[in-house]
Each structure stands twice: as C-alpha cells, then as structure tokens.
C-alpha cells in the first residue's frame, strides 16, 4: 500500500537552480535589481510618454500584488478588485479637493474608507462558496462603478478633475512627472515587499491553509472567516493606495477607469505570472501593462490574446508561468531535543 520508495526520490526534487537565468530569478537580490532598473530608466529616457507608461505600469504592479493577497495567497477569486482602487481614488480626490489638501494627507482617510469597503464587501460574502463569491465580487464591482457614475459627490459620468498634487514643499513639487514616478516606484516597491513578507508570515500561512483546505484549517483552530476577511482588507488597502497614486498620476478620476476589464486585467497579471509568487505576479503585471505599449499594432487583438492565454495557462500550467516555490530548506533532524523514535526506526 505505501511506497517507501518515494522517500528516496522526493529530496531530489529540491534542485539547485541550473542555468544563470533561473539563478537570477531565484536570487535574493532580484528585488533590488528590479528596483535599481526602475529607478535608472528615467535617467536614460525621460520623455513624458515613457514616464506616463512607467508610472501606470508601477501602479498596475501594486494592484496585482494586492490582488495576489486575495487570489494567490487566500484562493478567493475577486472579480471586482478594481472597486477598491475606485474607492481609494475617489476618496483621495474628493477629500483633497474639498479641503485643498495635498493627496498625501488623504491617505489616512483612504485607508479607513478602503478598509470599510473591504468589510462591507467581505463580511456578507466570505461565507459563500468560492464560485458564488466570484460573481458577488463582480456584482460589487459594478455597483461601485454605477454608483460613482450616478452620484453628485463623485462628479457623475465625468468624474472629478483638477485634483491637487501629491505634495508640495516650498518650491519643490512632487507632482512633476519624473518626481512623481520616483515616488510611485518607492511606494510600490515598499508595498510589494510588504505583501511578500505578509505571505511568508503566520498570517500568510493561515491564508494558504484556508486556500488548501478550509475544514482542516478550522480543525487547527484557525478562524477561516476572520482570516479571509483579513485577506480582503489587506487587498483593499493595496487597492486603495493604488487609487491614491492613480488620482495623483492623472489628477482626475472617472467611472470608466473602473470597468470590469480593469479587474480582469489585474487578475490576468496575477494568474499568468503565478498565483502566490510575488516575483511572478510583478512580472505578470509588467508584461500585461507594458506589452500592449510595445506591440501597438496588435492592440486590437491583445485582449483576445490575453483571454486565450488565460485558458491555455489554466489547462496546461495552472500554477502560472512563474509559480510559487513549494520548497523550503531541509534540516537534517538532529533528534537531540526529544528521544528520537524509541523502538521503531527502520
């Protein structure tokens, strides 16, 4: 019945990265290399177009790393994730315009509002089965957009424009495109790192336990509902901060930026990159947001291509192109803490 043969085979699967490319991808310094590249680009090419594309891509990376908490770590499919960004962007825009505050100072209010949004969406729905949850989040996403489209405070279909800049100290305006890009890159880098660290903590493990088997997690004393709600709240915060950056970048917010297509694109970044693996997700987000800029001629077909790619990936490589590494260092059991196996070792 049991094949002990497997014992000898299994350790071999922990293979050291073979070629230089995978060594680079697995290396601990990869994050620093990526950050250095992101900072270096404006010194090579700082046209408004490039800065615009890069800033947008960085915000997209932030969204993807936030959605990765919900979908990748916790296994909850959120099809309306962009709604959290909408809440963040609108809150930032409305508050900063009403009180003539720099956007930076709206962050506390944004945090409160997005956490509230996460609770409102999560609390009633997180007890649902996963496929129902997906549809309900989609519904919430649409509700958010339609509401923004119809309320006076959100400016209706034309939205809010003329949002004050992110910060101004004396004569130095952080809103200048290059400076704003650097601000965005550092915020995004910090948040991506934070998300990755959360994933490797006690809470991150609890998310994975829930993803893998809710009943077993409950049996270990984990309140699955609370844990899922926390995933939602963290996801919402990441989305909300993305919203602040969005409002700062475009100095305008309008409902059509928050259509389902946007939620789907963020989801694709997460899924194609590799659910649960921060590096994969960041790469996925960069590809999804930058590829269309590089292949302008194929713009018509890009969504079609994304859709087909999504199906192909799910059928042939459901863990994504760059899956989470399922391994950790072994330790040869020393057996000095406990009397090893008293009589039964082979």
């Amino acid at each position: 019945m049991t094949e002990n043969v497997d014992t000898t085979l299994a350790p071999k699967r922990v293979r050291p990265p073979s070629n230089w490319l995978s060594r680079l991808f697995e290396s601990k310094q990869l994050g620093w290399i990526a950050l250095a590249l992101a900072v270096a680009i404006p010194f090579i090419n700082a046209t408004p177009y490039v800065l615009n594309v890069l800033t947008t891509a960085a915000i997209f990376v932030l969204l993807a790393s936030g959605l990765n908490i919900v979908v990748g770590y916790c296994g909850l499919l959120d099809l309306g994730y962009i709604a959290f960004m909408a809440v963040g962007a609108y809150t930032a825009g409305i508050v900063s315009k009403a009180f003539e505050l720099p956007l930076l100072f709206t962050v506390p209010v944004v945090l409160v509002m997005t956490i509230l949004a996460g609770l409102i969406i999560g609390a009633p729905t997180l007890r649902l089965r996963s496929d129902y949850l997906a549809i309900v989040t989609l519904g919430f996403g649409e509700i958010t957009r339609i509401t923004a489209n119809n309320l006076a405070i959100t400016g209706g279909p034309s939205g809010i424009f003329g949002i004050p800049g992110i910060l101004k100290i004396g004569d130095f305006d952080f809103q200048q495109p290059a400076v704003f890009y650097f601000v965005t890159v550092f915020v995004v880098a910090g948040m991506v790192l934070a998300a990755a660290r959360l994933g490797k903590s006690r809470l991150g493990r609890a998310w994975r336990f829930v993803r893998e088997d809710e009943d077993a997690a409950e049996a270990m004393g984990i309140h699955t509902y609370k844990v899922k709600l926390l995933a939602y709240i963290f996801g919402a915060i990441w989305g909300g901060i993305g919203g602040v950056l969005f409002a700062g970048h475009f100095s305008a917010v309008a409902p059509q930026s928050f259509i389902f297509l946007q939620s789907a694109l963020v989801l694709m970044a997460v899924v194609l990159g590799g659910m649960g693996n921060t590096r994969g997700v960041v790469l996925g987000a960069l590809v999804i947001s930058l590829l269309p800029e590089l292949l302008r001629d194929l713009a018509e077909y890009r969504y079609l291509a994304f859709g087909i790619l999504l199906v192909i990936v799910m059928v042939f490589r459901p863990q994504g192109f760059w899956p989470a590494r399922g391994y950790e260092p072994e330790r040869v059991p020393t057996g000095d803490k406990e009397p090893a196996v008293a009589g039964g070792t082979k």
Binding site: S201, E218, A219, M220, G221, L230, G326, K337, V341
Partner: protein, 263 residues
C-alpha cells in the same frame, strides 16, 4: 480525576436518519479510548459533532468540564481539541513543515506588523515555528523530506505528518480517525508505540479504529457503536466477550466462527 472529555447522550440526525443516537462516554487525561463499530455505525459523525463540524441535534460535549457543544470548529480546537481526518486532510501544496506549522498557529507570537517590518520578534517567532515543527516531526518518527510539498510523499508519511500536525496543537484531547488504515505491519507497530508516547505527554486520545489488534492492545476502554447507538462499553476484554458486539460484527448466523482477537 475529572474527565478531559465528557460526551453525554450525543445525537445527530441527517434528515430522518439518526447517525448518532445517544452516545455517552468520557475520557480522562492520559487515557486512550477506542470507538469501534461496523462501517456506517456513526463513529466519524460522532467525531464531527465533538469537533464542531456537525451541530449535534441533542446532547452535550464537555471539555475539561466546559460545554463546547455546537461551537465552531476553530473555537473547539482553540479550547483544546485536535484531530486527524479519516481521509487525510493535509494542505497538499504546502511543505511538510508548513503543514505541521498549521498545528502551531494558535501559538503565534507575531503580528502582521511584525511580519511586514521583520522585527526581532518576528524572527524569533519564525525560528520557533521551524524548530518546533521539526521537533514534532521527530517525535512522530518521521524520517522523510521536510521541505517539499506534501503531495509528493508516500501515504504512510502523510499519515505521520497529519498526526504531527495534530500534536503540534498541544491540545488536551486528540481525536484520531482511523490512524492505522492503510498502514503495513511495521508502521502499525510504530503507531502503537507512538500512541503510548503521546499518552506520556498527558494527552487523552480517542481513536476510531478497525484494526482490532491495535485497539485491544492500546486502549484502556472501548466504546462500541452500531447503527448510531452505543451497544457496549468497557475494557477490551469485556467488549470482546460481549454477545451484542459479536452479533454486530458477525451477524446473527449461528454457524459463524467465534471471532478471535484481531478481526
């Protein structure tokens, strides 16, 4: 000595079917109680009631004198009950160590803020998690790889890890649902010896088991169920000699052989 677990007149019905119908027994610290009975007798349903996965229709469950009847599984686990499942319920994509860390989840010692800022407290906590997980794997005599996803491992190894995970919870009561199913002879011997060592930790054990040899050898008392009802309770020797038990296992046919110890 007061009982760790007291089950009183436990009942659960699905539709019209009474899966458990008036089960009562108690378990004391350092005691091993076996629940036996033919397939479909309601043993696993009883476990699910005790651990909160089913809400019992009637009756009560007390842990160390406190009622835990009908509470959420997570609350019951936190109160001091841990379990294994009849068909392994591990976290297949996670490593062996992570699976064991699940059992230690309640002994956190770190918050999410610690994790984001990698505080010294976080590092201490993570080191503790790893060390403790290794310790429990050593304790159950697990010799396989530890850093690999558990889905790659042999069945017997997975069973060991599941027990390690339940032990890592350091609960007062451990419920084992058919721990010997699918194990070979030497693995069963190790399981028997492991049960005795768990008892030495001060943990009370309730086990559902079909392997009569194991049951007779390891348990102080045996509860026999059939069709949801408790038909006998006593020491292994008493139960073995009980006519109702013999009938439940072998039917009423007079020509049948008298059962021997390890059916």
């Amino acid at each position: 000595m007061s009982a760790v677990l007291e089950v009183k007149d436990l009942q659960i019905a699905f539709g019209g079917v009474k899966a458990v119908d008036g089960l009562s027994f108690d378990v004391h610290a350092k005691q091993i109680v076996a629940v036996i009975g033919p397939n479909g007798a309601g043993k696993t349903s009883a476990f699910n009631c005790i651990t909160g996965f089913y809400k019992p229709t009637a009756g009560s469950v007390l842990l160390n004198g406190n009622a835990i009847t009908g509470k959420r599984p997570a609350d019951i686990a936190a109160a001091g009950v841990s379990r294994t499942f009849q068909n392994l319920r591990l976290f297949p994509d996670l490593t062996v160590l992570d699976n064991v860390r699940a059992g230690m989840h309640l002994y956190g010692g770190q918050s999410w803020a610690d994790a984001i800022f990698h505080t010294p407290r976080f590092k201490r906590s993570e080191a503790w998690y790893t060390e403790e997980a290794h310790r429990w794997l050593d304790f159950v005599g697990y010799t396989g790889p530890r850093g690999v996803p558990i889905r790659n491992l042999a069945y017997g190894q997975q069973k060991q890890v599941e027990i390690a995970r339940a032990l890592a919870r350091k609960s007062d009561l451990l419920l084992l649902d058919e721990p010997a199913a699918g194990l070979n002879y030497s693995e069963k011997q190790r399981l028997l010896e492991l049960c005795n060592r768990i008892r030495e930790l001060g943990t009370a054990i309730v086990l559902i088991e079909h392997d009569m040899g194991l049951v007779m050898e390891v348990s102080e008392r045996v509860v026999v169920m059939n069709f949801g009802k408790e038909i006998a309770e006593g020491t292994p020797a008493q139960v073995k000699a009980n006519p109702a038990v013999i009938e439940a296992y072998l039917g009423r046919d007079e020509d049948e052989e008298v059962p021997h110890g390890d059916a």
